[in-house]
Symmetry: C2
Subunit: 142 residues, 2 copies
């Protein structure tokens, strides 16, 4: 098989990390399929997630390995992991522990809708945007 066939049709996990050493990670709620967040994993985060079944990520802003919930207590137990055709993205279905996945206090990061079939300025609309927890309390901000 060509390299492309090996990556797409083979059974060896061979992640295609980008120039920053990351793959994209899509995180859905195992309970209902909702999209909770999109994050990134470097090789170490991926390895720890596979080994432990708990979600680990790499923060691009903080440039640091990060166990989900290490500050908030809102950890994620991975129920299933999949990899995509070209192995530059993984999908994890998680049991979200605690109130939510989003640092703003919502269950999901995707709490605003973009209206479609219009041109010009777009006004977002809140959807499922009620806060599940108070981020100032959870993250101890002053």
């Amino acid at each position: 098989m060509s390299d492309k066939s090996t990556i797409e049709e083979g059974l060896v996990l061979a992640p295609k990390f980008d120039a920053d050493g990351l793959v994209t990670c899509v995180v859905t709620d195992a309970r209902n399929g909702d999209l909770l967040m999109v994050a990134h994993m470097n090789a170490e985060a991926l390895k720890r997630t596979v080994a432990t079944g708990e979600a680990w990520y790499f923060s691009r802003s903080r440039k640091a390995l990060w166990k989900k919930g290490e500050s908030s207590g809102h950890t994620q137990r991975v129920v299933e992991m999949r990899v995509d055709c070209d192995q530059d993205a993984v999908w994890i279905k998680v049991e979200q522990h605690g109130a939510g996945a989003c640092h703003t206090g919502r269950r999901s990061c995707f709490y605003r809708m973009v209206p479609l079939r219009q041109t010009g300025a777009v006004a977002l609309e809140f959807r499922d945007a009620e806060k599940a927890f108070d981020p100032n309390t959870v993250y101890g901000k002053k």
Copy 2:
């Protein structure tokens, strides 16, 4: 509000494009919530998707704007679009026309499972990997 608050709590669509001018796009099946693919949008792809309600992407490998289905006929009608907290990712729920979203012939790009809670070499396992169409026929490869 600070810039961070405006981006996270405001109702203005202000996508945070990366160094390559892209945001991540998560594509799920509006019918059953399954993750179909992860792609990228540049400003023009995002604008066209919002304006037309049909999915447009930017191909990182071909470095080209790309209407989903322009080669395969397997277009995607966007039922709902959302944006995440820091506006560097969008989520579209689509009606997938034609047999599938993946260029390998599957309905979804995520047709291999990564076994969890193990160390060492990982052997992927096929899941929902039956081909929905013949890519050689659809894409006219020799």
